[in-house]
Each structure stands twice: as C-alpha cells, then as structure tokens.
C-alpha cells in the first residue's frame, strides 16, 4: 500500500513564523483548540470523475470529514460546525479572510483543494494560524484515488505534528481479535481496520481460536497465537499476501508473541511441564534462544525501543509482578511493588514508560509506570480490562474491556477502548463485532 502513496512536493517552504498556536499534550487537555476544517474545494470535472470511481458525491468533503473526525477523537482539537463558515472553500484556500474565521472563534484553519490528475487523486492543503493571520504549512500529495482516506489521515498527522510538536498517529491501523457468540463458545477471528474504524477486514474465518495479534513495527507482518489443529502455537502472518507460518518447532504451547523493535526477532513464551519460559527466535537464521530460566511463569515479554531491555510478567515472587531484564536475560529486577497483581507490561515507543494491567481488590486498572517502577499512575478503573497497546507516538493507549454478566450469565460484551496517557479522553473504539487484544501499527507513511 505504501508504495502507491507519494509525498509529492512541498508547495511552499513552511513559514518560519513564531507559531502563536501551540497545543499542550502533556497534561489533560480540557480546552481543545477550536479549529475550522473548511471542506476541500473541488472542480466539477474532478468531482464527476471521482464520483464514478469512488461512488462518493464530493470527495473533497469526504476527506475533510476524515480529518475532522481524527482531530475530534484526539481530544486536543474542537472542530467547529461547518454551518457557521462564512467563506467558500475555494476562496478560503487561496487567501482566507481571517476576520471571518476569527469571528467564529477558530484559532486554526485547514483549507485545501482536490483534483483529478492523470487518473490520480491530487490533494493540496494549507494550515493557517488565524490570530497571527499566517500560513503555517502547505503540502500536496498525489496518490491512487482509493487511498483517499489515507490522505485525510496523513493531513491530520501533519497538522497534529505542526501544532503539538509530536508525531501523529492517524495514518495507522489496528489489528485485533473480533469476537462473536456465547461466552462459553466464543468464535474469534483476526481482524484489521484503520485507526478510525474504517476499512474493517477479517483475516481469518473463525475455524480456530486465535489470540493476541501484534504488529511488526517495521513491516506489515503480524504475529499471533492460533489453536490450529488444537496445537496452540505462535504464527507469523503477512497481511499483504495472507501467507502464514508457524514460528519455530517447539514441542508444546508457544504464546504471548511480540516482535523486537527492529522486526527481526520474535519474543514469546514456551510452556512445558507446567513452566513457561521466555524465548526469542531470529526470523532470518531461525536461531532460538532461551532468555529466562526460572521454575515460575515467565510471560508477556516486551522489548524496550532500543532493544536492550525486556520487560515481562512473572510470578516468581508468588504472584504476578512486572520485571525488567537485559535482553540476554541477565540482571532481572522486579519493578512493580504496589498493592495488587500486575500483568501485560508493554514498553512505550518513547522508551520512558511501561504500560500495564493491574488487578487490585477485584478491580482492573490500566496504568503506566517509569521503567524503574517508580511514578505509577493508574489511568482507568473497571470491572475487567487489560492488554494496553501504545499508539506509535506513545501518547494514547488502546486496550479492551469486558462487561460483567447478569445473574443469568448473559449480557457479556468485549469492546476496544482508548485513553490518553494523561488519563483523559477515554473513548469507545467502534468495531462491527465484539473485540479484544488490540495492537496498534506504526505509522504507515514514514
């Protein structure tokens, strides 16, 4: 998919103005920035061409809706109601009348233009600082028409990056487990969708139980656990080709897989004789290494982004706790010392934090702590929730939550939720079926 998208050219050198607008993402943002997303203007001929190909009446408005929705779910922006816009899209894109946008209290403005050029979709957009009356950035993209949603995501990423100073996370996908049927006979399939829930696709048929899919941070490969032929094993799946293979040749259950940050190894647990240990397998030379050596459960391993350390879950102290070790298995240190049980540690892509699930007094929490275990912060409490996965910029966590059943054992559901690192902006992530075990991809266009 990547190869079809060309970041075409920078139309103008971004103005080096002192940016007056700045969005602070380090604390809970209770005053999201008012932003106007003017529908991307489009000429009649282009409109008709795209309508034929994409079956969308006005692809310009469609792309700006994608941007608007992204900005809204980030919790950092407040996209203003289009009914209040005074200036027509085509004129605004040439030179906005800042007084008009100021009047509706917009602090930032996005304008743009869509055209049909050589069977391709060409989009240019500009970001304006309304108060300063200045252009902040201008970019153009050319791609195949089917990539129109991705254009919306990439524009959002650029706007987010320009206004917050951090990389965005909108041109990304989520792989997860789609669930259906009664709790005692759950049918589970691998599914993938865009970060905003669009383009949902099932990758397996549901004939066998599948669990815990995780993206390779450097490619469109996925590793997951499948009960194919009732032999729970870690598999590798290429989501472009659909080709699958078993990882390694272990005489028992392998589970809890993840990729190393360079994408070259898989780290996972192998259970034998009641003892689960952590192993790695190099995907090129197939060399298997045993990393832990302890007669307790060692599982849920996750590398630090520099690949030098591994955090994991062990009950060697008697109960589930979080440990950190060097990537060769030496220097094992327990880092969780709070009350309760700790599981599913995941190292942040920024390297500074570890997200986890905590069980204390019958409640489940998603939280973060520093990599030495200090500074524990619980973000959300619920009857049942677990398995956080980081957005590629390390600002948002996605996880799943299950409901309590009623006295008849009915009413069970599992859904994906996201929350900002700040503990604000908790949101249900819509999926066509029940869902669990989400994993966030890296940025697709990097």
């Amino acid at each position: 998919m990547n190869k079809y998208l060309i970041l075409f050219l920078i139309l103008f050198i971004p103005t080096n103005s002192l940016a007056l607008i700045e969005v602070d993402i380090t604390r809970g943002n209770l005053n999201p920035l008012p932003i106007a997303v003017s529908p991307l203007s489009i000429d009649n001929e282009s409109k008709q061409n795209f309508e034929k190909i994409l079956k969308k009446k006005n692809i310009g408005s469609e792309i700006s809706s994608v941007i608007e929705n992204n900005l809204k779910i980030s919790g950092l922006f407040n996209p203003l109601n289009k009914d209040a816009f005074l200036q027509a899209p085509d004129i605004a894109n040439l030179k906005p009348r800042f007084e008009d946008w100021n009047l509706i209290k917009a602090q930032a403005l996005i304008t743009g233009k869509v055209s049909f050029v050589n069977e391709k979709l060409r989009v240019e957009f500009r970001l304006w600082d309304v108060l300063a009356g200045k252009e902040m950035m201008a970019l153009a993209f050319t791609t195949v028409p089917n990539n129109w949603r991705r254009v919306g995501h990439i524009i959002t990423d650029k706007v987010y990056e320009r206004l917050t100073g951090e990389k965005g996370y909108f041109d990304t996908r989520i792989i997860y487990v789609a669930e259906e049927g009664p709790k005692t006979k759950r049918i589970k399939k691998l599914a993938i969708m865009d970060q905003d829930g669009a383009n949902n696709k099932f990758l397996t048929l549901g004939n066998e139980l599948v669990l815990t899919p995780r993206f390779n941070p450097t490619s469109q490969m996925v590793t997951y656990l499948s009960y194919f032929r009732n032999l729970p094993r870690v598999y590798l799946l290429d989501i472009e080709t659909g080709i699958q293979e078993v990882v390694g040749d272990f005489p028992g259950m392998t589970f809890a897989p993840r990729f190393s940050p360079d994408g070259k190894k898989i780290i996972m647990s192998f259970a034998k004789d009641g003892n689960s240990e952590i192993y790695t397998m190099d995907l090129e030379n197939r060399i298997v290494e045993k990393i832990t050596n302890h007669p307790s459960i060692d599982t849920s391993p996750s590398y630090s982004p520099d690949g030098k350390y591994i955090c994991f879950n062990s009950d060697r102290s008697g109960y589930q706790q979080i440990y950190v070790m060097k990537s060769d298995g030496s220097n094992v240190k327990r880092i969780s010392f709070g009350k309760g049980l700790y599981g599913t540690p995941v190292w942040s892509p920024r390297g500074d934090l570890i997200a986890f699930t905590k069980l204390h007094k019958g409640k489940f929490y998603i939280g973060v702590m520093r990599t030495d275990g200090k500074g524990e912060r619980l973000l959300t409490e619920n009857f049942y929730q677990e398995a956080p996965s980081w957005s590629p910029n390390g600002r948002v966590l996605i996880f799943y939550r299950e409901t309590k059943t009623d006295t008849k054992g009915e009413g069970f559901s599992a859904k994906l939720w996201s929350i900002d690192l700040t503990g604000y902006n908790e949101r249900l992530v819509n999926t066509p079926t029940d869902a669990s075990d989400p994993s966030w991809s890296s940025l697709l266009s990097n």
Partner: protein, 173 residues
C-alpha cells in the same frame, strides 16, 4: 525439579486445608444463604475456600470417575478432593490401557489472557504429574491449555469462576 515442586505443593495444600476446614462450616452456611437469595435457578454448587466442590458441571469418564478437578484462585495446587478424583482416573486408565487422554487446563476470567494461558498449562500439568505418580505413562497424556478462553459457566461471580478454574481429562481416542 518436578519432584521438588510436587512435595512443596503437598505441604502447601495441607496448610491450606487446615485453614479451609476451619472455615468450612461458615462458608457452607454462607453458600446456602447465597443460593437461597439467588434467582429461582437452583444451584447445587458450593465452594470450600474458593475451590469448587459441587458437581454441577462435572462429567464422568466412567461410572464413578469424575472428569475434572478444581483449583483455588491463582493456584495449581491439587486439593484432597482433586487427588481422590485423579486416583480414580488413574485406576480407570490402568484398567483401560488403550485409552489416551488430553488434560485441558483452564483459568477463570479474572486474569490477564497470557498469564492465564500459562496458568492453565500449569494446572493441567499438576494433574498430569499426579496421574504419572499413579503409574500412568506420560505418553498416554497430552496437555492443552485454554487459559480463560473456554469457561463452562458464563457467570461473573465467585461460584461461576470456581467452576471455570479446572483441569478436565478428555478421552483422546
């Protein structure tokens, strides 16, 4: 290593059992009170400590040979009742020497998925080890952990969870 583990488990179980017996009367009372308050749906289930001791979900490999044993939260220790069940299974397996079994280990829903997969495997292996000490060859027993993926009871309460923390011996041929 394995033998060591078994010895530890037995001591742990004895200590736990003492505690359990002390509380058994109270717990039984509490269970009775609970089921009386509960909906019209009759429940013959009960617990000792938090180990399920009822027969609601139990199936039988043969007459008088229950197919499953139950565990306390986060534990893979075999209770006295579990060992009795497994001795019956061992005797039946010795008599039917052509039969092979799969030990399916399960956890309740109150734990993280990956840890529960490991816990299910540990529970099934606790049962396997015990069957082996009663003369059943390891090549007649395979182990399969389902973690929390296959509960028998879909309830979200301590009694349901206790039924789901189990190792089930399933005929494989």
């Amino acid at each position: 290593m394995k033998k060591l583990t078994i010895r530890n488990i037995d001591q742990g179980a004895l200590m736990k059992l003492n505690k359990i017996l002390k509380n058994a009367f109270l717990v039984t009372l509490a269970c009775l009170a609970l089921s009386a308050c509960a909906t019209s749906k009759k429940s013959s289930g009960q617990m000792q400590g938090d180990v399920y001791t009822g027969t609601d979900t139990v199936e039988y490999l043969a007459s008088g040979v229950p197919d499953r044993v139950f565990f306390a939260t986060n534990e893979s220790v075999l209770t006295t009742a579990s060992r009795e069940t497994l001795r019956k299974q061992a005797a039946w397996l010795r008599k039917n020497s052509d039969i092979t079994i799969v030990l399916e280990g399960h956890a309740d829903e109150r734990g993280t998925r990956e840890y529960n997969l490991a816990l299910g495997e540990r529970r099934a292996n606790a049962a396997k080890d015990y069957l082996m000490t009663y003369g059943i060859s390891s090549d007649r027993i395979s182990v399969l952990s389902y973690g929390k993926e296959r509960p028998v009871d879909s309830g979200s309460n301590p009694l349901s969870w206790s039924k789901n923390r189990r190792s089930v011996s399933v005929k494989a041929n």
